[in-house]
Amino acid sequence: MRYLLAVLALAALATLPMVFGDYGTGMLVGLAGYVTLATSWAMFSGPTRYISLATVAFFGVGAYTVAVLNEVLPYPLVLLAAAGIGATMALLVGLSTLRLAGIYFVIFSFGLAELVRQLITWFEVNVTGTLGRYIFLDLEAKHIFWQLLALGAATLALSAWIRRSRLGLALRVIGDDETVAAHSGINLARTKLVLFVASATIITLVGAIQAPRWVYVEPSIVFNPTVSFLTVIMALLGGATRLWGPLCGAVPLFLLFEWLSARFPDHFSILLGLMFMAVVYALPDGVLAALEKFRSKGNGNSATKPAKEANA
């Protein structure tokens, strides 16, 4: 029954481009993109509490792969190649950095985007002698939306499955206390690595799928750090430890930013900064957790709370 509902909901979402016009479809592309980014980000960063600012490193690699290969390979193979490259890169990065703790990982992940950008630039300058590539693929906004919708649904399904599996349990233990996790026989490195690679591969695919919208691609366009920041803030707003949390953060924030860009085109950076502070100070566990707390307080029933948290 639940599967049937999910399929029906997905089908309904897929017809949305027919209902809305071009602009509506463009919004759907952005929404689906950020929901997928935030959900896949939270897949790794939520339970492990490793705040990764490397989103745009993988996102950009995906977009760049499409730019390089779109004229030599058929489109599905280009996407496969992007996923492969993203996964390989995540594996290498994960092997070398997932032993870093807390703040060091944050700093490294932020540097990674810049590192990848400089490497690509160096390669293009010294080896191929071109910087700036063109993507002339005949894909309209609705095609891109359908792909992102499929990827987003797959991401949510994968997240849900991981939560119920031994892997999800292991991750939660790691997030609570690494020492305890190690003593209870959890292979820390491998567990973190698997999740990191899965999450990064999905992020790479989001970049690859969205790239045909931009026609022209160069490192400064695809490695825009705002993507990393927005992903983090969306996931945190909704609640990174919950399955539907990132979605609940991404949708309202995306709509809010869209509204702000039209209403206050001169103040985006300031508003983004204020938003960050508001989320961190006022809603440290996300909107969903705050709502639950509010509800349980209203009922005067605190006994159910631990049970709920364990469920989450």
Binding site: T121, V125, T130, R213, Y216, V217, E218, I221, T226
Partner: protein, 404 residues
């Protein structure tokens, strides 16, 4: 505040609002406005370029047109311009969405282009699909001829990297023939789409003109310390120093040359050299520095344009793409006056008509502006055009450049 007075205020407020609306209503209702939309980078890495070249000219033009009563239609009536603007946050995805919004949601009459090569390419397929003419001013691309063919309502107005590089080589070759400089050139370039385009064209052109490239290195975008590079360049024996640079690197390399007392006979930098702020960077010693672009400083139209830009915006325009941006708006204004707002007719007029603008008479060739200034030089208060040397309005280059 007592209950009564608060009530009175609350009652008076809507009244005041209504009367304010009523007063402004006749003005707005007088003529149905023409809506013009644009999405530009007001935040993020592209905000600097957009803030210097694109946004001030849009604002200046809209203000002038509205003060004159609005855009003139073919029947002689005037309709005021109403602007719809969005911030694309320097993101291609947001830019594309903003264009979709302008075209299908706001249904604006005309769309003005964003700043930058990437932005203009990102919106080109959409502009084409929705049928809007696109005056892509701030895009430097060697592929312009192909793009003009692919999207037949797009117009490319700033040439390609190849044009700028070969014109510079010609200018230097003339000086070499005259015996003012030796045949050695030291060249650095920013590792960025723009720097690579120029250096790729410059290398063979220099060789063909009989120059020897004694130094040829690229540096990453964001480099701020040029001491080591200039040290090596200084020892290379080259009379000509060429930097295909990007701001703020263009300013950094200038500062370093001044500090190190590096005085080549030719000092050329890339984007930024034609910015009004360059005089401040060099503390007034910019005399003889060469860069991209230039204006015909003797032209009264340019002089008037500089004066009004300074008085309305608060600072003078840059001497490369600003005047061309403004000219593209004048073309649009004139074309609307001739054929109205129909997109197909407008595109046709822009493509085939000739227009009187601040940069002189403009007639596009295959949807591209080819009558451009490729090399300029600071001479006195102005960044004057020196290449093409045979075009009317060109100044003779001053080589060697005076010492800092």
């Amino acid at each position: 505040m007592s209950q009564n007075t608060r009530r009175a205020v609350l009652r008076a407020l809507p009244l005041a609002m209504v009367s304010a609306l009523a007063l402004s209503a006749p003005l707005a209702a007088q003529e149905d406005p023409v809506t013009i939309g644009y999405a530009v980078s007001k935040s993020g890495p592209n905000a600097t370029g957009a803030g210097i070249t694109t946004i001030p000219n849009y604002e200046l033009w809209v203000k002038e047109v509205n003060e004159a009563g609005g855009l003139e239609m073919p029947d002689g009536s005037r309709r005021p311009i109403e602007v719809v603007e969005y911030d694309d946050r320097s993101s291609a995805e947001d830019l594309v969405r903003a264009i979709e919004r302008l075209a299908t949601q706001d249904k604006v009459d005309l769309i003005l282009p964003p700043w930058g090569t990437g932005g203009n390419l990102a919106i080109a397929p959409l502009m084409d699909r929705f049928g809007y003419p696109q005056l892509a001013v701030t895009s430097v691309t060697d592929m312009a001829p192909e793009f003009a063919k692919r999207w037949d309502r797009s117009f490319w107005m700033l040439g390609g990297g190849h044009d700028y590089a070969t014109a510079l080589v010609e200018t230097l070759a003339a000086a070499k023939e005259a015996g003012t400089i030796n045949d050695k050139v030291a060249m650095i370039s920013v590792a960025d789409g723009f720097g690579i385009d120029l250096v790729k064209a410059a290398r063979p052109a220099f060789e063909e003109a009989g120059f020897e490239l004694v130094y040829d290195e690229s540096y990453p975008l964001g480099t701020s310390d040029f001491a080591a590079i200039l040290n090596e360049v200084q020892g290379s024996g080259a009379d000509s120093f060429v930097a295909f640079s990007y701001p703020p690197g263009s300013f950094g390399v200038t500062k370093q040359a001044m500090t190190a007392g590096f005085n080549p006979k030719v000092f050329y930098i890339g984007v930024g050299g034609a910015f009004p702020v360059y005089g401040k960077i060099t503390e007034g010693k910019q005399e003889g520095v060469m860069s991209i672009g230039g204006v015909d400083a003797m032209s009264p139209a340019i002089e008037e344009y500089f004066a009004k830009h300074t008085s309305v915006i608060g600072n003078p325009p840059d001497s490369w793409a600003s005047a061309i941006t403004y000219a593209s708006l004048e073309m649009l204004e004139e074309a609307v006056k001739r054929v109205g707002l129909d997109h197909e007719a407008l595109a046709g007029e822009l493509s085939t008509g000739s227009f009187d603008t601040v940069i002189g008479e403009v007639k596009l060739e295959d949807n591209q502006l080819r009558k451009l200034w490729w090399v300029g030089q600071w001479q006195g208060e102005h960044f004057v055009a020196v290449s093409p040397a045979d075009r009317e309005g060109a100044a003779a280059p001053v080589i060697p450049k005076p010492e800092w």
